[in-house]
């Protein structure tokens, strides 16, 4: 038995080493990231519905003027586990955007109001146009942005609040800003948020911190739209496996009791 415990400890230490090595390799080499309580972390983690709806508002009123979200559709906004806007709200949101469609029977492209099945409308025609409008820097697509950055949600949350006056000794080119969480501390994007930049419908005060948290929550959902069902299914799957493991353990003991050997 002692041997088995030893073996288990060895196995666990190997596992711990692997996860340690992989997190080390991924972490950014800048200031320590700000932490906040994310409702979607943990075994039963779920999105805060209010934060998602407010986050969508921040995204669409602030970020979306430069950042695309090309893998997300308007219909997703009404789906379970997301912001869960009502069907009418989703239709209204979609209809507020002009979508280029076609060609029609005359071979012409035309614009029409958006439908829930449309993907989020792009702010720019293409990458070149986006770069031309932003001093040569391409504002990255936000569909999977939190998964595409080491530090994930904490990084985005910190970055949005990380704008400062550049310390003396650091010279910034025109159109470059200082951000203490950015890799290399230099970022093309100007500080996107300021207090009361948006007016929340639910009366929440739109501080920079609040908006950062809301929009990051929204980005997390955009990157992992099935996070809630993943957590729910995961809990059930693991409980099922544990019960089955216990049952199999006792069957094994019973079967092996016929031979003079230990398992």
């Amino acid at each position: 038995m002692i041997n088995k415990v030893k073996n288990l400890i060895k196995l666990l230490s190997i596992l711990a080493f692997i996860s340690l090595a992989s997190t080390n390799a991924n972490s950014a080499e800048t200031a320590k990231l700000l932490k906040t309580d994310w409702s979607f972390k943990g075994l039963f983690g779920k999105f805060d519905r209010g934060a998602l709806q407010r986050g969508y508002q921040v995204y669409t009123e602030v970020c979306a003027s430069c950042h695309s979200m090309k893998y997300v559709s308007y219909r997703n906004l009404g789906e379970k586990g997301g912001p869960e806007f009502s069907e009418a709200e989703v239709k209204a949101i979609a209809a507020s955007f002009e979508v280029t469609d076609g060609p029609n029977a005359d071979g012409e492209m035309f614009t029409r109001p958006g439908k829930p099945s449309d993907k989020f409308v792009l702010p720019y025609e293409n990458v070149k146009a986006a770069q031309a409008a932003n001093g040569g820097a391409y504002p990255p697509d936000m569909s999977v942005l939190v998964k595409a950055r080491g530090g994930g949600v904490d990084y985005i949350y910190s970055l949005l609040q990380g704008y400062e006056e550049a310390p003396s000794g650091i010279t910034l080119d025109e159109g470059v800003h200082y951000n203490k969480y950015m890799y290399g501390n230099k970022i093309r994007m100007a500080a996107p948020l300021s207090d009361d930049l948006v007016e929340y419908g639910d009366g929440t005060k739109a501080s920079v911190e609040q908006m950062s948290k809301d929009v990051t929550t929204f980005l997390m959902w955009a990157a992992e739209p099935h996070l809630e069902s993943r957590h729910q299914m995961g809990f059930k799957a693991i409980v099922y496996l544990i019960i089955l493991t216990i049952l199999v353990y006792f069957s094994m003991k019973k079967i092996w009791s016929r031979v003079e050997s230990e398992v």
């Binding site: 190997i14 090595a21 893998y71 997300v72 569909s143 999977v144 998964k147 693991i238 199999v248 092996w256």
Partner: protein
């Protein structure tokens, strides 16, 4: 294979079995005499079979929705993650399944190293295993390229460029591998084809691996030859089946934690950025399971010699049965080997860590020392140890240590009589 002839009880069974002896095979597999003292490190063979089948089944499903085209691959993966029913589940099982597969294979290999399972008469099982391991690395590498993220693209560029180190024909080979003058759509489509093919090659080799195992039978923690069937063995079914099943369930719990609660922790964030040939990532790192070899590659200053060192590090394992000169299999009875074994484990873990770090300063120095030690272990320590080491007395049968705890001198032969 089996010592006794098998006759099916039913008439139909007999008729069928005379024409295709599948029932004889099934009978052989259930009755297969297995040492009764196998510990849990022996359950990873079954776990690996599970991993292979899981990868094939989830991979087939993914292939129905994935599009192998440089302009559409990344998008099709997002389509799977968002719009395919349970696509996220299947993809996360497949992606983490690769890591779990390697975790299990490393435990399986290091179990073999500890208990001397590679030694006569099991050299062929071992060599087939090394070929499977090589194919696994090829399959995993090409699979990582398929989502066409930044790490896919640049990982593929770095690894395929290694072939350019070959004198004279190197550049030509790289162009041939790429199907063009850089990693591009032709590279992606051929990687997809090969990624689909290799698992079935592995499956075939696994059959040979098990076949070769069933000729001499399993090694065991004591490492001695045993009579089969005898008091020292149990039939595979139900004893080993239930034990493997129990271990597999424990393994699946760990697997499930990764899939459901940290599905991206073993991957690299940069792979969620679509491939861009114009932007090189800050650090190009392979998946964790390739890191020790990546460290060896980078610790040699010369490109060609680096590639040679990396390949030798793997191929040296194939000749291990002849490098290890000791006649005693199990490290339990080899006090010195046991210590060198754990130093090797630490050495490989250190190499893995250094592979993830930038190749500079202290990291590079440690990687170099660890690389040198890796080869020292196999080329010097193991051959010499076989002659110099004073091994402990080995028991006559496994019943003894199983029943009496520590090996008892009264029933033990000494080393000289084993050597006869």
């Amino acid at each position: 294979m089996s010592d006794h002839e098998y006759t099916p009880s039913s008439k139909v069974g007999k008729w069928f079995n005379d024409r295709l002896p599948l029932l004889t095979l099934a009978n052989h597999l259930t009755d297969y005499p297995t040492p009764k003292n196998l510990n849990y490190w022996w359950t990873f063979g079954g776990i690996l079979t599970f991993c292979l089948i899981t990868q094939i089944v989830t991979g087939l499903t993914l292939a129905m929705h994935y599009i192998a085209h440089a302009d559409m691959a990344f998008e099709s993966v997002e389509h799977i993650m968002r719009d395919v029913n349970y696509g996220w589940l299947i993809r996360y099982i497949h992606a983490n399944g690769a890591s779990m597969f390697f975790l299990a294979v490393y435990i399986h290999i290091f179990r073999s190293l500890f208990y001397g399972s590679y030694k006569s008469p099991r050299e062929i099982i071992w060599i087939i295993g090394i070929i499977i391991y090589l194919l696994m690395m090829a399959a995993a590498f090409m699979g990582y390229v398929l989502p066409w993220g930044q790490m896919s693209f640049w990982g593929a560029t770095v690894i395929t460029n290694l072939f350019s180190a070959i004198p004279l024909v190197g550049e030509g080979i790289v162009t041939w591998l790429w199907g063009g003058y850089s990693v591009d759509n032709p590279t992606l489509t051929r990687f997809f084809t090969l990624h689909y093919l290799i698992p079935f090659l592995i499956l075939g080799l696994v059959v040979l691996h098990i076949w070769a195992l069933h000729v001499p039978g399993n090694n065991n923690p004591v490492g001695i030859d045993i009579k089969k069937p005898s008091k020292d063995t149990v039939p595979f079914h139900p004893y080993i089946v239930i034990k493997d099943g129990f271990a597999l369930l424990m393994f699946m719990i760990v697997f499930a934690f990764f899939v459901f609660y940290s599905p991206n922790i073993l991957g690299h964030a940069d792979n969620y950025i679509e491939a861009n040939p114009m932007v090189t990532p800050a650090h190009i790192v392979p998946e964790w399971y390739l890191l020790p070899f990546y460290a060896i590659l980078r610790s040699v200053p010369d490109k060609l010699l680096g590639v040679v060192a990396m390949l030798s590090a793997i191929l040296i394992l194939a000749v291990l049965p002849w490098l290890d000169t000791s006649k005693i299999r199990s490290a339990v009875f080899r006090p010195l080997y046991k210590q060198f074994y754990w130093i090797l484990v630490a050495d490989v873990l250190i190499l893995g860590y250094m592979g993830a770090m930038p190749a500079e300063g202290l990291y590079l120095l440690i990687a170099r020392v660890a690389t040198a030690y890796y080869f020292l272990h196999f080329l010097v320590i193991l051959p010499v140890l076989g002659f110099k080491e004073k091994t402990l007395p080995v028991p006559l049968s496994i019943t003894e240590p199983v029943l009496g705890g520590a090996p008892n001198l009264a029933t033990a032969k000494n080393k000289e009589s084993i050597d006869k």
